[in-house]
Amino acid sequence: MDKLINEFSFGLFFWQLLIFIGLVLLLKKFAWKPILDAINERESSIKDALSSADIARKEIESLNEENQRIIKSARSEREALLKEARNTGSKIIEDAKQEAKDSANQLIKQAQESIESEKRAAIQELKNQVAGIAIQIAEKVLHNELENKEKQNKLIKQLIKETKL
């Protein structure tokens, strides 16, 4: 301890105190304050950038989710539409078929009916004509048979003969 006190130099202490305090004040003004301020500013700007990047990422994520959702709903909608279209198509075809069948049936029926009536008319006509022809033939035959007296007599005789009383 005695040695320490003996070694203590007041001059050195004085200069050290003076220079050191001066150095602290000078550095505070010209170095530490600007350095720490710059570092703080830089740190806060990095922090801001990071947080905004985070927000952007979250936004993108939510957008992606939204997109997925939209795609999904679009797909299901398309499916539903397709299904409906398919149903409608087959129904239309079915209906068309039915209609065609119906109209065909009707046509056939009409045709049959008209054929029937035509047939009947033709038969009627034929009957009439045959009757006319038969009358004409009978007329001609009778005319022929009854040309002379003799033949008339003969016929009468025959008819009388055939007719038994």
């Binding site: 203590f8 130099s9 007041f10 001059g11 050191f20 150095l23 304050k33 710059a38 570092i39 830089r42």
Partner: protein, 359 residues
């Protein structure tokens, strides 16, 4: 490329420590242990001239190479003269009507013959004028301060020029500034109060560190191993601690809450003593560590010249080299410890207890 050059320079400087320091001994003819002890103790003290090399020439006369520094004395008026006049303590310096002599790095007022008188315990009884000389230590402090000022100013300016990114040599110190803030100041003092202590803590750390490193160069400077310097630093820490202390701090010293009344009375003087012991320990720790480092290093280098044979000298060289490396670590470690403990004391001073009765 720039980085490589910096690294090379540093390595060269540190490799030079052992080699050039050893140069100091080359001229010593006796090389005995007493001489070396004297030399080491002399080196540990502050000196009035910046001596780089001294040897004894063929005629048996001591030759010194170095820079004389200004001597400033207060002895019935200011007296300024060059330390050349002392001739390294060999002759008496006449300034006006007064005579001064350098004896063991201290200036004494003497008669014209330069006689020094001793008391029974062999302390000189001559009058000692108040010595404000710009000694080797003061010059080193000024040199370090200038380096620090320009280094950190360039760092501060580089932020403005380069869009908040550090550039140039100051860039290497930015992580350390951040370390002091994030690992020393904030954990010990707290987020709320640390800002007002930052300037002091940063200056303290780099000041001690740079001077410690400067002490390892072959220039033979020993500033942080000087009690006056460590006392000054510890005193500033002590003053800042007590002047910024909050009510809670003083309450914990004089009237410890949460303990019985007799304990309160018993604790007060102990706590009060602690206020002084804490900075006192700071002072002694730095002084002792750096002094011890210098003594060990110089002793090991001296061993090279005591052995004067291949095996012993090379072993001593290897040892001295390893110790030099360790000393580089100690240099930063001591700066760190001084700063951490200062921060811790500041932390005690501004501590706030929300729940006072929890002790």
């Amino acid at each position: 490329m720039l980085k490589k050059i910096h690294l090379k320079t540093l390595i060269l400087i540190f490799l030079g420590i052992g080699v050039v320091s050893a140069n100091d001994f080359k001229g010593s003819t006796k090389n005995n242990k007493e001489d070396i002890k004297e030399y080491i103790l002399h080196h540990l003290q502050d000196s009035h001239d910046f001596n780089l090399l001294s040897y004894t020439n063929d005629k048996g006369k001591k030759v010194h190479f170095g820079i004389p520094l200004p001597v400033i004395l207060w002895d019935n008026g200011l007296k300024i003269f060059s330390s050349e006049k002392f001739h390294h303590g060999e002759t008496v310096a006449q300034i006006g009507k007064d005579y001064y002599k350098l004896h063991h790095n201290k200036i004494y007022k003497t008669n014209s013959k330069g006689e020094i008188f001793y008391d029974e315990s062999s302390h000189p009884t001559n009058v000692t004028p108040i010595d404000f000389s710009l000694t080797k230590g003061v010059v080193s402090i000024i040199f370090t301060s200038i380096i620090m000022f320009f280094l950190f100013k360039s760092l501060a300016d580089s932020y403005k020029k380069n869009n908040k990114i550090a550039k140039g040599i100051g860039r290497y110190f930015e992580p350390i500034v951040l370390y002091v803030r994030d690992e020393i100041a904030i954990p010990n003092i707290g987020e709320k109060h640390y800002k007002k202590y930052m300037s002091y803590l940063l200056t303290l750390f780099f000041f001690i560190w740079f001077l410690n490193i400067l002490g390892l160069t072959p220039l033979g400077i020993n500033v942080t191993g000087n009690i006056a310097v460590t006392f000054c630093l510890a005193l500033i820490t002590f003053l800042i601690t007590n002047f910024t202390a909050k009510k809670v701090y003083w309450k914990h010293i004089f009237w410890m809450p949460g303990v019985p009344l007799p304990m309160k009375i018993a604790l007060a003087p102990i706590e009060l003593l602690g206020v002084i012991i804490k900075p006192f320990a700071l002072m002694i720790r730095l002084y002792a560590n750096i002094s011890a480092g210098h003594i060990v290093l110089m002793s090991l280098i001296s061993l090279i010249f005591i052995f004067r044979n291949w095996l012993g000298s090379s072993l001593s060289f290897i040892l001295a080299f390893s110790i030099s490396i360790i000393e580089i670590l100690v240099a930063v470690l001591q700066a760190y410890i001084f700063t951490v403990l200062s921060a811790l004391y500041f932390g005690f001073a501004v501590e706030e207890h929300d729940h006072e009765d929890d002790h």
